[in-house]
Symmetry: C2
């Protein structure tokens, strides 16, 4: 089998025992294909499953009664989707696909199993959740305090850093399958102004457009525009419990 994106992403952070790997493997047992622009789950739906993304991009979003929308997080292959939801009986955010792809649904109870059997894996899951929290705080800062150009630079830096975790030889080419309306709903702008902002950045030799995305001409300047901090490297795993917990069966 072709090693899972999830396991390779996790191994990027911490070593895993065969037992732990077996626990993780169970999260990817089922498979479910989806088309483009498909609603996997709407805000307020009862939450039954979580997902591992196997192929394609998706996003989690909140919406207002009048149609205003906020895309809270963009998901890539290897991501676990829905962890923040399990604190509530109903989905906080909706989940929608960008293009066609493949999801691995697994039940909430699979986490229970992990909690009782492996404190180490539990610590890793918690850490992933906390890292997402930090990244959400960064996005909040961006959308609250940065100009449109700075926000766009932020998004570019963030996506590039994230994709490089599993694809280190990405270079300066960023695939960007999101529509400008989706980018706008993520960055708290309008589709019209996203278009104008990208055009202006191209004019100023920060970017060029490619078939499928963007090429970054001046990454240091983009990073400094957004005052970007990479939250994907250097996570702290040294405090993880080493012992394995023996559950009372």
């Amino acid at each position: 089998m072709p090693g899972s994106c999830l396991v390779s992403k996790l191994l990027h952070h911490v070593e895993l025992s065969p037992d732990d790997r077996a626990l993780i493997a169970r999260l990817e047992e089922a498979e479910r294909p989806h088309g483009r622009h498909e609603d996997i789950c709407r805000p307020g739906d009862p939450v039954t499953d979580l997902y591992v993304v196997k192929e394609g991009w998706l996003y989690s979003y909140l919406e207002m009664p009048d149609g205003r929308r906020q895309i809270v997080r963009i998901h890539h292959p290897g991501d676990i989707v829905g962890l923040p939801e399990i604190a509530y009986p109903e989905a906080v955010t909706g989940l929608r696909s960008v293009g066609p792809g493949l999801l691995c649904p697994f039940p909430r109870t699979a986490l229970d199993e992990i909690f009782v059997r492996s404190p180490r894996l539990t610590a890793l899951l918690l850490t992933l959740a906390l890292r997402e929290h930090a990244m959400l705080a960064d996005l909040l800062r961006a959308n609250s305090r940065l100009s449109a150009r700075e926000r766009m630079a932020y998004l570019i830096c963030e996506l590039t850093a994230r994709l490089r975790v599993t694809n280190p030889d990405l270079g300066d080419t960023l695939p960007l399958p999101l529509s400008q309306t989706e980018i706008a709903d993520h960055l708290g702008l309008t589709n019209v102004y996203v278009s104008k902002t990208i055009t202006a950045m191209v004019r100023d030799d920060l970017l060029v457009r490619t078939e499928t995305g963007l090429r970054l001409l001046d990454e240091p300047r983009l990073r400094s525009l957004a005052a970007y901090t990479d939250r994907h490297t250097r996570i702290s795993t040294d405090w993880f419990p080493a012992r394995t917990c023996l559950a009372a069966e």
Copy 2:
């Protein structure tokens, strides 16, 4: 002793065994007073401790090199502060006090203990972290997609809902020790416009000012202005592991 705010807040969500209570009690062993406008920790500092808030308000913030600031979360008595930080070796956010108060610092390793000894408590901590995540997503939506008045309504609803968890007889009176600059840095506005917005809301009979805060004249309208969802009631604890984990000593 006067029952701790933390324990009473946790019991609001889930029952705890004596063992679990003992584990929690250790988080409040030390005490450290602080003054007003005091920096407990600055962004980028090495993280050693977490805190339980015993008295006073504080906030976590991010800042830009040029001084722009984003207040990410406001902390009240009974809150655990710093959980999102432990994923990284250095502090993501700074921590600053609003007025004078009392903090209980405890080392990261106290969590390790909890992870190995009590899956149930671990699940509770994870759930609290995930709830904070959901609330951060709400703030992101507010700051990205709401008008100044709607954001102000959001903040009022959110603070009211949070304070009512430990103080159900709050009524329509919201204590608000934050300066307008702090409110602005939380909502992604300027201090000037916060002032103008509050004045306009008072004119429109949504609020009146009191000595120490605000009185809400039309809570339903405030909630509908912000399309507010209360994330403090009804968290999902049914999936928590019931068994206690017996650690290999």
